[in-house]
Symmetry: C2
Subunit: 314 residues, 2 copies
């Protein structure tokens, strides 16, 4: 699987942004370690999801590409698939809940995607997507439970090691586990001694529970501000990869997430969405036993005005 | 004066941040030119002002340093002087209006500065500063009208040319004209054919008027959101330098400033204060005749929560 990530990196070269790594003397003093922030908020379309989408879709055969791809996501993954489809001239179909923010529906359509709305009260997005996929012979690009998607996300950590030098700890947010499992494999491939920690909101700590009990836990519609981690559970592929490659899972409160976004805004002058600030929230609140050189994946920067205003008022 | 800037750069090396230059395909398409954003919002203490303060204070003799420095500024310059004083172990006295935001008073005190509050209704900050300066034999580090300050600010543009290659146009905000005059001299020194444009809020367009009439205009308490440009007028040193080295001055509306801050927030994922977004506002609103390779100084990122909430609501 580590080789899979190395190949993904070659595929992404010149297409994904080689995002910068930021450091801060103030932050290092505050935490008591050398912190390297991998700024995936500066990735194309504003989040790491571009990596997995590009890796998956660019790998398809010409016949598959000519038939098109489909996914279900109202969030960053949906936008990423739509953008990659536009770049590679592959038709994309995105299944979105009809109550998704108008800006997200418009953004996907702006990239040329066919958007199919469903009623989340009565319909399952996976069922609708599967039905359309079969009818139209489309290729499914799921949000996280897919080896090509996982390998793509892992490239963020490969880059980070090349930029920061050998890290001995890595923190990354965890929703469905695509980013976490890919990054854990990349980190262990680069330095088997690197401790990899997944971070979840306490309000959506299904992966923490799954990790600790080694049994898959699920959660329904968690009310966390970190909307990128509102997934029901880890996946069939990501869960075992996480059990094998991740050293620990920790959770942070809503207040801690908000304070981390504020720190990034006021001190670092960068815009990071709540899900993207989970790793930093864990560090700022002493949730882990520190090591010397710590990498943190800031996974994305797509935050709407209303949420940011709420955070700035807190 | 160009050599003065080159020397300032040597002095700043290893002390000021070598701030990154950001580009965006979306922005280039939108404007119709190649845009290079010099991110002084990532400078130490969040603004270019660190450059001028460091250059001025580090140049002092040991005797001058041992006596201390003084300035009057409730904004970024005051913070910059306080921080540099802390770094170089020089005692700093900052004259601030008693109605300055508590966070700014606290920040300066946090850097170890002696803060003297005055009543802006009845007292002049320059008079108070001059009186204390004489009584205590302090060295005055004024916010902009000082060749060492100007030379320090110019280093931002020297760096930008090295990072982006030869630019044929440069846009920079204008308050008292320290940044604009320093950057204009640096740009002309690097490429005499580079057009240099200063940008002001229309609500505080004293420098535009001064430039166009070649007579110094003043303005009192302009109500612009771009608080870094609320200076009364250009200075005795900056005004002639601007007449000699700047090609044009343009102004932008409050709405255009707000939209530029929003663009930087939502599209570029960076936090830029209203004054810092003036150059981009001019470009986004076709205020200048475009050239091919355009540099823009994003001068700072120090924005308070209330102002950002207002901008996100607009």
């Amino acid at each position: 699987m580590f080789n899979h990530i190395i190949n993904a990196r070659k595929r992404l070269k010149g297409h994904a942004n080689h995002t910068p790594v930021m450091t801060s003397g103030t932050l290092n003093k505050l935490v008591g370690a050398d912190i390297y922030l991998k700024c995936e908020n500066f990735q194309k379309m504003g989040a790491f999801k571009f990596r997995g989408a590009y890796n998956s879709i660019s790998k398809l055969t010409n016949i598959e590409k000519s038939k098109g791809v489909i996914t279900y996501s109202s969030g960053n993954h949906g936008q990423a698939v739509a953008l990659v489809g536009k770049m590679l001239k592959v038709e994309t179909t995105i299944i979105m809940p009809r109550n998704a923010p108008a800006t997200k529906l418009a953004a996907a359509k702006g990239y040329g995607a066919i958007v199919i709305e469903y009623n989340p009260e009565t319909q399952s997005r996976e069922d609708i997507a599967l039905k359309i996929q079969e009818e139209q012979s489309l290729t499914m690009i799921p949000p996280f439970d897919h080896t090509d998607v996982i390998a793509g996300q892992g490239t963020a950590t490969l880059e980070l090691f090349d930029q920061a030098g050998p890290l001995d700890m890595l923190l990354t947010p965890c929703g469905g586990g695509g980013l976490l499992s890919g990054c854990a494999i990349a980190a262990k491939g680069k330095n088997p001694d690197c401790k990899v920690i997944g971070v979840e909101p306490a309000l959506a700590d299904d992966a923490c529970k799954s990790f600790k009990t080694r049994m898959l836990h699920t959660i329904k519609n968690p009310e966390t501000i970190a909307d990128g981690t509102r997934t029901t559970s880890l996946g069939k592929i990501t869960f075992p990869l996480i059990l094998e490659n991740v050293d620990d899972m920790v959770s942070v409160s809503e207040k801690q997430i908000i304070q981390a976004v504020q720190f990034l805004f006021f001190r670092m002058k960068i815009v990071v969405e709540p899900s993207g600030a989970l790793g930093l929230a864990a560090l700022l609140n002493k949730k882990v036993v520190l090591r010397k050189k710590i990498g943190v994946i800031l996974s994305g920067g797509n935050i709407d005005a209303e949420t940011m205003r709420l955070i700035l008022k807190s």
